[in-house]
Amino acid sequence: MRLAESREQRELRASVRKFLTDKQSLDAVRVLMDTPSGYDAAVWEQASSQLGLPALAIPEQYGGAGFTFVEQAIVLEELGRALYSGPYFASAVLAANAILCCGDEQARQAHLPGIAAGETIATLALGADELTAEDGRLTGRRDLVLEGATASLILVTTDESLFAVAADAPGVTVIPVATLDQTRRLATITFADAPASVIGSAEPLVGVLDRAAVALAAEQLGGAQAALDMAVAYAKTREQFNRPIGTFQTIKHRCADLLLEVESTRSAVQYAAWAVADGSDELPTIAPLVKAYASDTFSHAAAENIQIHGGIGFTWEHDAQLYFKRAHFDQQFLGDPAEHRERLVQRIGI
């Protein structure tokens, strides 16, 4: 395990950051919030073809770039920092890992190259809702499917199997729902005798969800860091009582506590990313641990950022609200912190 970022990794971070600053600033995110799809297809195309972001952690034999999860975690942190709005997490994390871990060889060859190239946008429809599979036909529904209305390929798991369903197949109805966090898109998908092919086993799904938990924690780290940076920058310049509010101990101490949490999250995310990349047996414990802790950190940072900004902080026009809403989404998505902490104690044998 090597924890220090290599030169290549630093360059990757810098180029992703520059790309997002240029192509998808928070102003651009606000514009996308009001569009039906919620994402910019041209930015997605460039992120795929020029930067190769969806391909990053997919093995070369399936059309990917063959880097590790450590590099992907760097990208995810930057996406979280910028509140990137688009199907990266759904396609390059959830769906790609589902196919890699659960899918059979034929499915990997069929679907991963398209996902790596960004030409196929896929998602994984998770959930506990009743779903029946008979003779290659699915009936039932899944709620809160990430990017469900954007994806052309929908992966669905039952207790036993992983299914692939084309979004435009007969019997598939996708209904987008209005999201509290407008930078993330969800949909309800109903399947009425929809044709589906079994492409693998659902047994390794636990590992997929562990990877996804670490991936989401990496995004949460970026969001938390951005919220802290905003709060600190404001505290240095905003004056009240003829002095910067950052001179007041109550502001300093709030920021110091946030830094402790953000730095601790960073250590955990780096360690967890290595655990994924190394196939370490520590993954089952660190995945719920880091998801719960990163959720708490991001929620705390986003909330404190509003408080430190005062009145402007709770307006629509200020970006603090965007991080607050994203923090809430990320906290609840893939299981809330209490659920992950319960999973953690079970997995350490208590």
């Binding site: 924890l3 220090a4 101490h253 830094l259 601790s264 360690y271 208590i350």
Partner: protein, 401 residues
């Protein structure tokens, strides 16, 4: 997972592991649990004094001394072997793995030595450092005063130059290890007319003789690990002033900056051990199935693991040659606040049983009662949590003073 620190460090680790296997006296690891040292401000762990007095421990100490593995981070000319931070960390890991103790020289090694190495003359280094390595000089700290805790630069203890000597008079407080010390490093005011931070000197004074008296302060835990000290004209040669007269503030700050170091990857071990002891306690009282207790245990385990992950990251940064910054303040804030909370969780788990103390003279307590009570001091000594937050905010985040 083990951090890949390159082939040189891997060789170093392998050599060290063989050396420990060949040189640790049989049975040393079983004398006591060397990795679990007590809660500062609480009762000393049972059996530690006896284990340290055992001939096998003394033999081990001699072998470490001969191999220059006491204060190994110091230059060879002063008794060490110039070991870098990464190797010291590996040394700590390997000793912990083998269950054998490091022989450490307390505040002499952690505080005084670093200040001497940075600020002292070569004559001073040659005189003072080997005496710390050999254990001849044992130091206690004379910083805090009854009127000045967090506002350290306001110390009033006077240092008056008298010929080639300095005469120190005043009162110090919160001194741990006073009974075992023969030397004290004090911060005293040598120029009363200069601004607060510029009139101080850092002096190594004898902590023996009729000019020195100290008295234990009994804490809420019942233990009396700290003392208050009365210095009534203690004389030391001017050559015991480190860093020059009136330059004591800078020297004292160096000291604090070196408080941690190579323990980054082992400091979580004792907390991890304590966590599993708490799990045993929860099972014993049938509380491990309570959903709220389970959340609390998950929280505690998370905090301990975060110490581990952060330690590994710090070590990776040290290996890259980056100087430690405000991590020391973050680390102190993290573990002391954690431990305070852990005491509360533990007492919640034991419930009514925690209302009752063991019988005996004085104020004996259970381990969890001790953690609960003594843990309150952790967020106060060595810089309160509020001081640590100020340091983090100003030095790491650049918030204005």
């Amino acid at each position: 997972m083990e951090l890949d620190l390159g082939p040189d460090i891997a060789d170093f680790r392998a050599d060290l592991r063989s050396w420990v296997a060949a040189n640790a006296p049989a049975g040393l690891a079983d004398l006591t649990d060397w990795q679990s040292f007590g809660v500062t401000g609480g009762n000393r762990p049972v059996g530690l004094d006896a284990a340290q007095a055992d001939p096998r421990h003394q033999e081990w100490e001699q072998r470490l001394t001969d191999a220059r593995l006491v204060c190994p981070q110091w230059p060879a000319e002063y008794g060490g072997q110039g070991m870098d931070g990464v190797r010291v960390a590996v040394l700590n890991e390997e000793f912990a793995r083998a269950g054998v103790p490091r022989v450490v020289r307390g505040m002499g090694e952690g505080f005084v030595g670093p200040a001497i190495l940075v600020h002292a003359t070569s004559e001073q280094k040659a005189h003072f450092l080997p005496r710390i390595v050999s254990g001849e000089d044992v130091y206690c700290q004379g910083f805090s005063e009854p009127g000045h805790g967090s506002d350290l630069a306001a110390v009033e203890t006077r240092g008056v130059v008298d010929g080639d000597q300095i005469v120190v008079t005043g009162q110090k407080v919160w001194t741990s290890g006073a009974a075992k010390a023969n030397m004290m490093f004090v911060l005293c005011r040598t120029d009363p007319d200069a601004p607060k931070h510029s009139g101080l000197s850092y002096v190594l004074i004898p902590f023996t003789g009729p000019e020195v008296t100290y008295r234990p302060i009994r804490q809420m835990s019942g233990a009396a690990e700290f003392c208050e000290d009365f210095l009534d004209g203690v004389r030391a040669p001017l050559t015991n002033v480190i860093g020059g007269l009136h330059n004591g503030w800078r020297v004292a700050m160096t000291t604090l900056g070196h408080e941690r170091g190579g323990r980054a990857t082992v400091q979580h071990l004792r907390f991890e051990q304590e966590f599993w002891a708490l799990v045993d306690t929860a099972r014993k009282y049938g509380r491990h199935t309570d959903p709220i207790v389970r959340q609390q245990l998950a929280w505690a385990y998370t905090q301990v693991q975060l110490m581990k992950y952060s330690g590994v990251r710090t070590l990776a940064q040290v290996a890259e040659g980056r100087q430690p910054g405000p991590e020391a303040s973050i680390t102190k804030l993290f573990w002391s606040e954690y431990h305070k909370r852990l005491g509360e969780i533990a007492m919640n788990i034991v419930g009514g049983a925690g209302l009752v103390r063991p019988d005996g003279d004085g104020y004996p307590t259970t381990d969890w009662q001790n953690v609960y009570l003594a843990g309150r001091s952790g967020t106060i000594y060595s810089g309160t949590s509020e001081i640590q937050r100020n340091i983090i905010a100003e030095r790491a985040l650049g918030l204005p003073r």
